[in-house]
Amino acid sequence: MRVVIIPEDFRNDQYILKPLVEAMLAAAGRPRARVTVCRDPVIRGVGQALDRDVLAQIIERYSGMTDLFLLCVDRDGVASRRHALEALEVHAAGLLNPGQVLLGENAWQELEVWALAGSRTGSSPARSRRRGQGRSPTHPNASDLRQGPGQDRR
């Protein structure tokens, strides 16, 4: 399976989305899926990410080598964003080749929350109990989040 992720701002979102999508696909039985992040056109914000012309450019470029286009944006507390994504999915279906699909997803409330959900260290019952007893002064992955590419998304 070949996947192109379309973030609303690739510069930092790529560091969250690529490993997360690869892990999700591996968990779904697709460990050899090839995943890449679209970096052009340079999308700056959800407004451009939901633009049909921008989407058409991306689909045209990658249509010969992609099975799944994954459009990932922040929900930002906007209840109608799901509806906008569904409308884009329907529109994109008319641009795609047979067998291809575009899925749109909005992160509640932002993609950084998905990064926390993808953390391997935060899901054990024991850790949950410890969290209930008192909050750690720093997040277990705080050092990872502070270092490396993508650290300054906001």
């Binding site: 070949r2 192109v4 460990p31 050899r32 090839r34 890449t36 679209c38 970096r39 052009d40 450019q57 045209e60 470029r61 990658y62 010969g64 080598m65 992609t66």
Partner: protein, 220 residues
């Protein structure tokens, strides 16, 4: 065969007259230019390219020698100003070195040139390519160059484009590969509608080889 990985420090060094070929880092530039200038028609060719490729209004070359007999090229402008190789920009020196390599008395049959666009103003890249393509067409030489410049790639002529290749390394693989650009699946179709330079800068070319790689050869 000649490898050229030009370094400004070497280009600015005085050299002994009589040297007829450029070193791989640009050694002997002044001597080779001096030798070229002994033939007036070649000198005029050199000057005409230099005028086109740099903002200088160079009308002549001078080769003053130091106490050891070594010469260092000076560019003489129309207003009489003389600009020594010590003061000329890196881009101007690189142009001069490429001209010296291609027009010199002992041209190689195969040139390898590292990072063709280094130090060159973007507006002059088209002329640089024109110079190289013209020399390759008119002489029995081959010219291999590497670049990281999307703009340069966008300027490559239709005749040269089939010879352009992508050097890439797929995730999880131990070595790099080289593939002719036009043989990357689907690239020809995309190229008809989108700018080649932009495709390069966006990483699309690497994406294309990655996404179209047969599954058994891709990263586990």
């Amino acid at each position: 065969m000649r490898f050229l990985d030009l370094e400004p420090d070497y280009l600015r060094r005085p050299s002994l007259p009589g040297q007829v070929s450029l070193g791989d880092k640009g050694q002997n530039l002044s001597s080779v230019l001096q030798r070229i200038c002994e033939d007036d028609s070649k000198k005029q060719t050199l000057l005409s390219w230099l005028k086109e490729l740099t903002p200088m209004d160079a009308t002549d070359f001078a080769f003053p020698s130091d106490l050891n007999g070594r010469v260092l090229v000076q560019l003489v402008e129309a207003n009489g100003n003389r600009v020594s190789a010590n003061s000329a920009s890196q881009g101007t020196l690189r142009f001069l070195a490429m001209l010296a390599a291609l027009l010199g008395p002992e041209p190689a049959s195969l040139y390898f040139f590292e990072e063709l666009e280094n130090g060159i103003h973007p507006t002059r890249l088209a002329l640089l390519l024109q110079l190289i393509e013209q020399q390759v067409r008119s002489k029995d030489i081959q010219f291999v160059a590497t670049t990281h410049s999307p703009q340069l790639l966008g300027l490559v002529s239709a005749q040269t484009l089939p010879h352009a290749s992508l050097i890439y390394r797929l995730p999880g693989q131990a070595s790099a590969r080289i593939t002719p650009l036009l043989e990357i699946p689907d690239v020809r179709r995309v190229l008809e509608k989108q700018d080649f330079g932009r495709l390069m800068s966006s990483g699309f070319l690497e994406d294309a080889v990655y996404l179209t790689e047969p599954e058994e050869a891709s990263a586990k």
